[in-house]
């Protein structure tokens, strides 16, 4: 009897999550009257604004990842190595983006970095792009920090550092050649999550008026019928692709083969 309930709950869960996706995918394929087709997808892919916004968001995502890695890896490493007492406070700070809405952060940015401020980042497209990248890095901080910190937990940071120091290595060498390669899987996990966040983010990009993928999805959704569904399926595919890559890289790392 217990088993039936368990299977029933599982089935309900599967239907609850998959039916909307199936319905959305089904709808996205019905652009041509009376038959299934990829017309909506062809329209989306053929739209120059899709290519432009997607390229913009991918570029932003890559810069955000690089910035996030450069910020988080040395910080998490230093906290573990020298300031373990500060860990709870740093963890708290990294969690703040989860409780502070993006709209609050972006209004703060606009107020602080507007054209009449001492650092007028919003005065140019380049400056606004940098500001947006910082904003994305803030949104991704909880995921990136946790991923890297978990990775650092799996290695003996203190002893590896001392071993490298006794062999003459300085901090930059230790970070680049010992710490980073050993937390690469964790960094990649954080990187893929960052990528997924940046690709779908709407609020910051819209309020900073940048041609990102999130605002494009919203714009398309407000004006078209079938294309938004196709776009949602595409965005969903990208997210799942990122999660799949995390799994793949994790497996690859575990079985790192010796050089031939």
């Amino acid at each position: 009897m217990k088993k039936i309930w368990a299977w029933g709950a599982l089935l309900f869960g599967i239907l609850y999550f998959t039916l909307p996706l199936v319905g959305m995918t089904n709808f996205s394929l019905k652009m041509r009257r009376g038959e299934y087709s990829f017309d909506a997808y062809a329209k989306v892919f053929g739209d120059p604004r899709f290519q432009e916004t997607f390229t913009y968001s991918v570029t932003q995502a890559l810069f955000t990842i690089v910035f996030g890695v450069l910020l988080v890896v040395p910080t998490a490493y230093w906290i573990r190595l020298k300031l373990p007492g500060l860990r709870p406070y740093v963890e708290f700070v990294t969690l703040l983006p989860l409780v502070i809405p993006a709209i609050v952060i972006v209004f703060g940015y606009i107020r602080l970095y507007n054209t009449s401020s001492w650092l007028p980042l919003t005065g140019s497209a380049f400056g606004t792009n940098i500001l947006l990248m910082f904003g994305y890095a803030t949104l991704a901080l909880p995921y990136m920090y946790r991923a890297v910190d978990t990775g650092l937990r799996t290695i003996d940071v203190a002893t590896l550092t001392e071993a490298a120091q006794s062999l003459g290595a300085g901090w930059a060498t230790i970070l680049a050649r010992i710490i980073l390669p050993n937390v690469l899987v964790a960094v990649l996990s954080g990187a893929f999550l960052t990528f997924a966040i940046v690709i779908g983010e709407f609020t910051m990009a819209a309020l900073l008026n940048r041609p990102a993928f999130g605002p494009y999805m919203q714009l398309l959704g407000a004006n078209r019928a079938y294309e938004p569904a196709a776009l949602a399926v595409i965005a969903f595919g990208i997210t799942w692709g990122c999660l799949g890559l995390i799994q793949l890289v994790s497996r690859f790392q575990k079985s790192a083969p010796p050089k031939a």
Partner: protein
């Protein structure tokens, strides 16, 4: 000045002083072991030599050069850790080559040196393996090769054998000693295992509560312990409480039985209590056993330890253990039996606190 000179070294962690005015000179090519229980300050001294801890006072000189202002990566020191500390992302070759690459050595020279080092530890065939594909003993040998590859002035070994099983520990300690003698490298070895320290060291420093209780050769440390702590920490030892009868004559009583020491007892009066040490292997109950001193007692128990049989004897209020080699032809004494233990009076050592 000695090759490695430690002068008035002090170290405090907050209000707790863990090393008190430590002084020692270590000569070039010498193998010195720091022996002591956990928390006695031995690893702290090693870490101060490596530069991982800053002394609260005192100075460290290597080959006449003050190490005080040098960071760990600026000191020419090789270190082997208890936890191996091989870089998991590098194979054996790259681990051994790491220090040479950091130093900017050419690729050809690196390959030659790595080959030499792997030859030294007899692991040339495992150059392509990653650390997780090696046993603990192999990992520690690679860590040794990695530390030696950069030709350090001083080799520091921080309990390198503690994580290994007994058999590997013995073979690897002999290998370490052989390599150390072959290269003539000044080595400081930290251990809490007295057998390890006794078997491979030129000199041993017995540490107790942040101080060196005794510095001497293994022979001196074992046979003439300077303090009660050294006597009890190194080897098995009987501590016997005796009464002084005539200090000038060296006469004492153990459980009301008179024994005469080789030398007069200085600083004590008749009737005072004195602590004496006697190694279990120093006495014998065999017929015709030699010795100018003897005490009688009742056998409390007999334990078979393989190559030796340990018998515990009650003499007055003291329990004295003594060992005899296992010989199938000799029947050990039974519990309750009265026996006479013979020993040389010179083996009965007066212990300072």
């Amino acid at each position: 000045m000695s090759f490695l000179s430690l002068t008035n070294i002090k170290k405090s962690f907050g209000p707790v002083q863990v090393v008190h005015d430590f002084n020692m000179g270590i000569e070039k090519g010498e193998f010195v072991s720091f022996l002591g229980p956990s928390g006695c300050g031995k690893t702290t001294i090693l870490r101060m030599i490596a530069g991982f801890e800053t002394p609260s006072g005192g100075s460290i000189f290597i080959d006449g050069k003050d190490q005080g202002a040098l960071k760990p990566n600026q000191r020419n020191i090789g270190m082997v850790f208890q936890a191996y500390a091989l870089f998991p992302n590098m194979n054996v070759h790259d681990n051994v080559a790491f220090g040479l690459k950091v130093a900017g050595t050419s690729k050809t020279d690196i390959d030659i040196r790595v080959k030499q080092m792997l030859g030294l530890i007899k692991l040339e065939h495992l150059a392509d393996r990653f650390p997780y594909q090696l046993s603990g003993g192999q990992q520690q040998r690679v860590a040794l090769a990695r530390a030696l590859a950069v030709k350090p002035q001083v080799l520091l070994l921080d309990e390198p054998l503690s994580a290994l099983d007994a058999k590997i520990r013995i073979s690897l300690r002999e290998e370490i000693r052989q390599i150390q003698q072959q290269l003539g490298i000044t080595t400081v070895f930290v251990t809490h295992d007295q057998e390890e320290a006794l078997s491979i060291s030129d000199r041993i420093v017995v540490m107790n509560a942040g101080r060196a209780d005794q510095i001497g050769t293994p022979f001196e440390i074992y046979n003439t312990p300077a303090t009660r702590f050294v006597a009890s920490f190194v080897g098995t030892l009987n501590i016997i409480e005796a009464k002084v009868a005539d200090p000038a004559a060296g006469s004492i009583t153990i459980g009301n039985q008179p024994v005469t020491l080789r030398e007069p007892i200085a600083g004590l009066n008749g009737g005072d209590t004195i602590s004496l040490a006697l190694r279990p292997e120093a006495g014998s109950i065999a017929e015709g056993a030699k010795g100018d001193a003897s005490i009688s007692g009742e056998v409390v128990s007999t334990s078979f330890l393989g190559s030796v049989i340990r018998t515990r004897l009650r003499v007055g209020s003291d329990i004295i253990s003594f060992d005899m080699f296992n010989n199938p032809g000799i029947i050990p004494p039974a519990s309750g039996e009265n026996v006479t233990l013979r020993f040389a009076a010179k083996d009965l050592l007066v212990i300072r606190e």
